[in-house]
């Protein structure tokens, strides 16, 4: 009986411990909220609507990587390079870093990104591509075969 009582007290104490933090009326601010700097200096909007991207960007990346790797299809729309070229921080030229487009959200959500152990997180040099060559307008024009 004594051991059962002791175990019950310990269990309750363990469960109640978070309350000790909340007692002060303050949330534990260990992880900074993400700063979502989208860096939209390439075009008007992303290749997909924001809410679609938010939920499904990993599916696009996953699908694209297999298409590119195994079939040689290098569609610009969902290519990782294209994402980075657009979303890279104008100062650091990277999507990583404390305020990096990819890293700030991923760090907050505690989802580790595997991409950048191999892929460069930095935007390609501007001179390599003319401006707006990969924005939505340019892609539409390329599909039609006309000039943007």
């Amino acid at each position: 009986m004594k051991t059962v009582f002791l175990k019950a007290v310990l269990a309750l104490a363990l469960l109640a411990s978070p309350a000790a933090f909340a007692a002060g009326g303050k949330k534990p601010e260990r992880v900074p909220l993400p700063t979502i700097q989208v860096n939209k200096d390439r075009g008007e909007q992303c290749v997909e609507p924001t809410d679609v991207m938010r939920r499904n960007h990993m599916q696009f990346i996953l699908h694209q990587r297999d298409e590119t790797m195994h079939r040689g299809i290098r569609t610009v729309k969902h290519s990782l390079k294209n994402c980075i070229n657009c979303h890279a921080d104008p100062k650091t030229h990277s999507v990583l870093g404390k305020d990096g487009f990819c890293e700030s959200c991923h760090r907050y959500a505690s989802v580790s990104i595997d991409c950048f152990s191999c892929h460069s997180a930095e935007r390609e040099a501007r001179s390599a591509e003319p401006a707006a060559a990969t924005g939505p307008r340019a892609l539409k024009a390329a599909a039609k075969g006309t000039k943007p």
Binding site: R65, M69, H70, R71, G72, I73, R74, T75, V76, K81, I84, S117, C118, H119, S120, E122, E124
Partner: protein
């Protein structure tokens, strides 16, 4: 309008040139695949290397490959990656010396593809053998299996990768036949281009399945060999002058 013969011929010549010129450009563009198009089985990309033209001590191809693909060294020759290397051969009987570049042979029946447990090592439909580093677990079995010791393992954290050539710690890599250049329609690899610019022209890139390509014509008219031909792997890299 009154024109004489000379003027007519000049006009006609100019008109013909104006008609043909964009057409020639279009043929070039037609060979460049659009990004949406998949690689096609109608092609098989390969190299023809003439060992007689390869210069001893020249490393233009190696330097170009390493620059193009961001293959950086860390001052540790045992573990640093080498996608291509110059090999010096000295005949045991005659003492004759020659050199040649050696890289992934892009076999038709690659042992590395057979042994990869996850299928990360694979052959693309147009003959280029690649490592899908997304699913490579770094077991190095393909390195055990490669008859040409073409593969390298990345032994440390890597930064500063080229955007077109991702490479990272814990995965295996090898010569990609500059697949990013091939898909873009450049019509050559970094090593072949560098050798041409160095004046040796020992490396020729081309489509082995296209009988009109220069590589096919040379292979059809001159003797050539595969390395370790007894293994019957039907390599995409052929050598002359061995």
């Amino acid at each position: 309008m009154n024109i004489n013969r000379r003027q007519f011929l000049a006009l006609g010549g100019a008109a013909a040139a104006a008609t043909l010129a964009p057409g020639l450009r279009l043929i070039e563009l037609a060979q460049a695949r659009s990004p949406e198009e998949a690689a096609a089985a109608a092609h098989r990309w390969g190299l023809l290397i003439d060992a007689n033209k390869c210069a001893d001590g020249c490393t233009a191809c190696v330097d170009a490959c390493f620059t193009e693909n961001g293959v950086t060294g860390h001052g540790r020759p045992a573990t640093d990656a080498q996608w291509i290397r110059k090999v010096t051969l000295k005949d045991k009987q005659t003492g004759q010396v020659q050199s040649l570049p050696l890289m992934c042979q892009h076999c038709e029946h690659p042992p590395c593809v057979d042994v990869c447990p996850t299928g990360a090592s694979f052959k693309r439909i147009d003959g280029i053998v690649l490592v899908d580093k997304h699913i490579c677990i770094g077991c190095r079995y393909c390195m055990m299996a490669c008859p040409y010791k073409a593969r390298s393992f990345i032994h440390e954290d890597t930064t500063g990768q080229k955007a077109h050539a991702p490479r990272g710690k814990g995965t295996v890599e090898s010569c990609t036949l500059c697949v990013h250049k091939v898909d873009r329609g450049d019509g050559t690899t970094a090593c072949a281009e560098a050798c041409r610019q160095a004046g040796h022209q020992a490396i020729l890139f081309g489509d082995l399945k296209d009988p009109a390509s220069e590589i096919s014509k040379r292979l059809a008219t001159q003797p050539s060999q595969q390395l370790r031909a007894d293994l019957k792997l039907n390599t995409g890299i052929r050598y002359q002058g061995l």
